[in-house]
C-alpha cells in the first residue's frame, strides 16, 4: 500500500514539474501558421473599433485571436528592428489600420501603395494619439 502511495506521489510531482516546464517553455503563438478566428476588411475592423473600442477589444484583442485582414495599401515603412509596417487605408482620412510584419515575413517587390493585400496577425488594440489607428503585430502576408 505504502509503495503505491509513493509511486502516485512521485508521478504527481513529475506531472507537476512537467506541466510547469511546459508552461514556462510554451512558445509564443505563431499567428502566421494558426487558423484565422476572424476575417475582416480594414474598413470593417476600423469602423468597429471607432464605434466601440471596449467590445471590439474583447472580440479581437483578448485571448490573442488571429485576425485576418484585407485592404488597400496606403504606405509601407521600415522599422528599426528590420521589420516592415504596412498601413491599410480605411476610406477615412482620420484613420487607418497599421500592420507590422514579423521579422521572418518575406516581402518581395510585390508590395506597393494602391495594391490590395491580405494579412494575418495579432490585433493589439486602438491607438488614438495621432489618428485613430487599429494596430496589428506579428503579421504574415496571406496573399
Amino acid at each position: 500500500m505504502k509503495k503505491y502511495i509513493l509511486i502516485i506521489g512521485i508521478l504527481a510531482i513529475v506531472a507537476g514539474v512537467g506541466f510547469g516546464l511546459m508552461k514556462y517553455f510554451k512558445p509564443t503563438k505563431d499567428f502566421a501558421k494558426s487558423e484565422a478566428d476572424f476575417s475582416v476588411t480594414a474598413q470593417q475592423l476600423f469602423t468597429e473599433f471607432s464605434k466601440d473600442e471596449k467590445n471590439s477589444s474583447a472580440k479581437y484583442v483578448h485571448n490573442d485571436k488571429t485576425v485576418e485582414i484585407s485592404g488597400v495599401i496606403q504606405s509601407i515603412s521600415a522599422n528599426s528592428d528590420s521589420t516592415k509596417t504596412i498601413i491599410l487605408s480605411v476610406g477615412n482620412p482620420d484613420g487607418d489600420v497599421c500592420c507590422t510584419l514579423t521579422q521572418e515575413a518575406s516581402v518581395e517587390g510585390k508590395l506597393s501603395a494602391g495594391k490590395s493585400i491580405k494579412l494575418k496577425g495579432q490585433c493589439t488594440g486602438l491607438q488614438e494619439l495621432i489618428a485613430k489607428e487599429v494596430i496589428l503585430i506579428r503579421c504574415a502576408i496571406v496573399q
Partner: protein, 184 residues
C-alpha cells in the same frame, strides 16, 4: 534699398524653412524594458509607440498599447498582460508632458541636446507626475528623442506576488527611443 529687400526676403525664406515645421510625429517608436536579476532576465519590446512632439510649444505625448509588448516567452507575455498590467481593463499607457528646458534646444541646428521632460505618466490606470532626463538629437530635419529611467511597479499599483518578487528587478529599466518625422 534693393539689397535690403533681397536680404529680408532671403531671411524670410530661411526662417520659414527652419521654423515652418512645428509638429513632429512618430507611429513606430520603440519603448522597451529590461529587468535583470540573478534568477531571470526579462526583456520586452514595443515598436508600435505613437508619439507627438510640438517643438515650438515643447509639448510631448506618448501612447503605448500594452498588448504590443513582445517578450521572449509566451508565459511572460501572459503574466504581463493578465496579472500585472491587467491589459483588458487598462489597455494602454500614456504620457503627456512638456520639455521644460526648451530654450536649450535648437531644433533648427543639428546636434545632441539634453532635455528635461516633465509630465503625467499613466500606467495601469494610475497617473504619476514625473520629471526625467533625456536627449534630443536633431539631424537633417529629423528628431530622435531618447530617455532611460526606472519604474517601480508599486508606484502604479502593480502587485508582484512574493513568490516571483526576486525574479523581477525593482525598479525596472525603461528605455524610450523615438524617431520623429515632420507632420504632413
Amino acid at each position: 534699398m534693393k539689397k535690403i529687400i533681397i536680404a529680408s526676403l532671403l531671411l524670410l525664406t530661411i526662417s520659414s524653412v527652419s521654423f515652418g515645421q512645428a509638429k513632429f510625429l512618430s507611429r513606430a517608436g520603440h519603448i522597451w524594458f529590461y529587468s535583470k536579476t540573478p534568477v531571470e532576465t526579462i526583456e520586452a519590446h514595443n515598436y508600435q509607440v505613437a508619439s507627438f512632439l510640438d517643438v515650438t510649444k515643447g509639448t510631448i505625448a506618448f501612447e503605448v498599447l500594452n498588448k504590443s509588448f513582445k517578450f521572449e516567452r509566451a508565459l511572460m507575455e501572459e503574466h504581463f498582460n493578465e496579472n500585472y498590467m491587467e491589459s483588458e481593463k487598462f489597455p494602454k499607457a500614456t504620457f503627456k508632458g512638456q520639455i521644460t528646458n526648451l530654450k536649450d534646444i535648437n531644433f533648427s541646428k543639428d546636434g545632441v541636446y539634453n532635455a528635461i521632460i516633465e509630465g503625467d505618466l499613466t500606467i495601469h490606470g494610475v497617473t504619476k507626475h514625473i520629471t526625467q532626463k533625456g536627449t534630443i538629437e536633431v539631424t537633417k530635419g529629423k528628431i530622435v528623442a531618447k530617455s532611460k529611467f526606472g519604474i517601480k511597479p508599486e508606484d502604479y499599483k502593480i502587485e508582484i506576488p512574493a513568490l516571483v518578487k526576486d525574479k523581477i528587478a525593482n525598479p525596472l529599466d525603461v528605455t524610450v527611443d523615438i524617431t520623429y518625422s515632420p507632420m504632413k
